[in-house]
């Protein structure tokens, strides 16, 4: 897509999302933007394994996973200098304060919104 969803060609993006339908959507958006999708991972354990083994360039993290929250993954990514965007069905106020410097996308979000946020954190 030549509109706002391009520009991430070849970028390896980890997707963490516990809802299969939403994960499928994120995957398709990222694939359309030229990314290589790592995952999707439905929980933090699987995501952490993928962070270590697949060394992503960036990540899209759903904050509330059925089994817990995604913060350990965010912590691990931050320590490795890997940028990420946060995705949540909750309000911004529910996001831990120290993670609010990262882009927070409210569900539902547009493909352009997700891609632009990823481009922004990758450029920073």
């Amino acid at each position: 897509m030549a509109d706002g969803t391009g520009g991430l060609e070849g970028c390896r993006v980890l997707v963490v999302e516990d809802e299969a339908m939403v994960a499928m959507l994120v995957e398709d958006i990222l694939a359309d933007a030229g990314c290589r999708v790592i995952g999707p991972a439905p929980n933090a354990e699987e995501a952490l394994r993928l962070v270590r083994e697949a060394a992503p360039d960036a990540a899209s993290l759903d904050i509330n996973l059925g089994s817990g929250e995604v913060y350990p993954v965010a912590e691990e990514l931050a320590s490795r200098g890997v940028p990420f965007v946060l995705v949540s069905g909750y309000d911004r106020e529910n996001v831990l304060a120290r993670y609010r410097r990262w882009p927070i996308l409210q569900k539902p979000f547009t493909p352009e919104g997700l891609v632009a946020a990823l481009r922004r954190v990758l450029a920073a």
Binding site: V22, M24, G89, Y90, F109
Partner: protein, 469 residues
């Protein structure tokens, strides 16, 4: 301050006394005591006969006659005159009436020879008024006592504590309930600092501010503040600051009420609203995804619209079931029946479902509902439900080792089946989403006799085992 009967009668210039039915003096004023040559209070309790020079029998007869009349009865009374002869007084005597209307002691008024009787009625009036006053005061006290009791009962029933702060001394008088609410001991002096010490550290500033602002207003000023105690209870503290006035120094008084339950209910409600919002947002994202996936597979706008609408209805049916049970979960039989309803006939012979009671967690139900819809749509388009004689069997039983549940979808009576050349959204959703959302193992098979789908749903996807993602 109510004057005593004694002090009142002492003001009367003429000798006056109350004599009981036994002839003893109940009350005598100073004028009588002086006339009788006695010191203050010396007459009380003495038999009048012992104080008088009048023959005892004569005196007793006179007193008896007086006690039977409300009209002053004239008589005479001789008092010993010290060294001289006895002093003769003219008397007027009549009975007094008690509060119950029964005759009381005899009231005797002594006067010098020749004095008019008229004054007696004035004295009677004074005594009557005094009696009335005493009665009114008793009634007022009784009313106040009852009013206080009512207030105390209301305060107790409402589980309120009461408190009163003397600003000058900084001391607080707190009711036992107030102390208990604050987690303070039942006894011992309590000052404002001690009270603040019972307030949760984080709320002390706000409490101090509220009370000080009201006290600083310079006029009676109400304040209300809610705070936590050290023990974590929520208290509502309402009061009124009263600046110094003629009656005393500055004070603040009011009541304190435990509002922990109300607070919890409000917090719970906020949590529920937050969860509902989260659920709505997730559902919107799911619908967005369904639309996106449907669009990929659709050949035209009409095809998109039809498939998207049907998927939306499938999702909605699962939501209806879950809403009916407050999103705790739903039964597998109910889910199959709801999703199959558009394809079912009156006899229920097209989709034959059955198995033991299985309860699904909400997330598993949503995912399985969509998967069932894909299977049903496929059967209606290409499989057993696309011809009149075909039907689907959906049977379930406990999974391997009695863990979880094993579901088998089996089509029969349809056209011969050929494996699809391309996997569409339907099979992607089935195979991947069920694995992802339920941790289920799926086998989608295409034997010639009819499509067969085998699902092994783990225990974790059942209600009460896993949370709602």
């Amino acid at each position: 301050m109510q004057p005593s009967l004694q002090s009142l009668v002492d003001l009367l210039p003429e000798p006056v006394l109350l004599v009981g039915r036994d002839g003893r003096v109940l009350l005598a004023n100073r004028a009588f005591e002086r006339a009788a040559g006695l010191g203050p209070g010396a007459a009380g309790g003495c038999a009048l006969a012992s104080l008088s020079a009048t023959p005892a029998a004569e005196l007793a007869g006179y007193l008896r006659r007086c006690s039977g009349t409300l009209q002053p009865l004239p008589g005479v009374l001789d008092l010993p005159g010290g060294t001289g002869p006895p002093l003769r007084f003219r008397t007027d005597g009549a009975t007094t009436l008690g509060e119950d209307g029964r005759p009381g002691p005899v009231l005797l008024r002594l006067r010098a020879h020749g004095e008019a009787v008229a004054g007696f009625s004035l004295l009677g009036e004074q005594v009557r008024r005094l009696g009335e006053e005493v009665l009114l005061r008793k009634r007022a006290e009784e009313g106040l006592r009852r009013s206080e009791e009512r207030l105390r009962l209301a305060v107790d029933a409402a589980d309120m504590g009461t408190w009163d702060l003397d600003v000058g001394t900084g001391m607080i008088e707190a009711s036992p309930r107030c102390r208990a609410l604050l987690g303070l001991g039942a006894d011992g002096p309590l000052d404002f600092g001690g009270f603040l010490g019972a307030v949760h550290r984080d709320d002390r500033g706000a409490v101090r501010e509220a009370v000080e602002a009201a006290l600083g207003a310079g006029r009676p000023e109400s304040f209300a503040v809610e705070y936590r105690t050290g023990a974590g209870r929520w208290l509502s503290h309402r009061g009124r600051a009263i600046p110094p006035d003629g009656a005393g120094g500055a004070r603040a008084t009011g009541m304190v009420l435990d509002v922990t339950e109300e607070r919890r209910a409000a917090e719970h409600q906020a949590l529920l609203i937050n969860e509902l919002n989260h659920r709505v947002k997730n559902t919107l994202a799911t619908v967005q995804s369904i639309a996106a996936q449907t669009r990929r597979a659709a050949t035209g706008l009409d095809g998109f619209w039809e498939a998207f609408g049907a998927r939306l209805m499938a999702l909605s049916k699962t939501h209806d079931l879950l809403t009916r049970e407050r999103w705790r979960g739903t039964g597998l039989a109910e889910l199959v029946a709801a999703e199959a309803s558009p394809y079912q006939d009156a006899a229920g012979s097209r989709v034959r479902a059955g198995g033991p009671v299985v309860r699904l967690a909400p997330k598993a139900a949503v995912s399985l509902g969509l998967a069932l819809h894909e299977l049903l749509t496929n059967a209606a388009k290409y499989g057993a439900l696309s011809v009149p004689g075909g039907h689907v069997e959906v049977r379930w039983a406990p999974g391997p080792g009695g863990e979880g549940v094993r579901v088998v979808w089996e089509e029969a009576g349809g056209p011969p089946v050929r494996p699809p050349e391309r996997r569409g959204f339907g099979s992607r959703l089935l195979e991947r989403n069920l694995a992802y959302d339920l941790g289920a193992r799926i086998a989608l098979l295409f034997p010639p006799g009819g499509v067969r789908c085998e699902l092994e749903i783990p225990r974790a996807a059942l209600e009460g085992v896993s949370g709602d993602g």
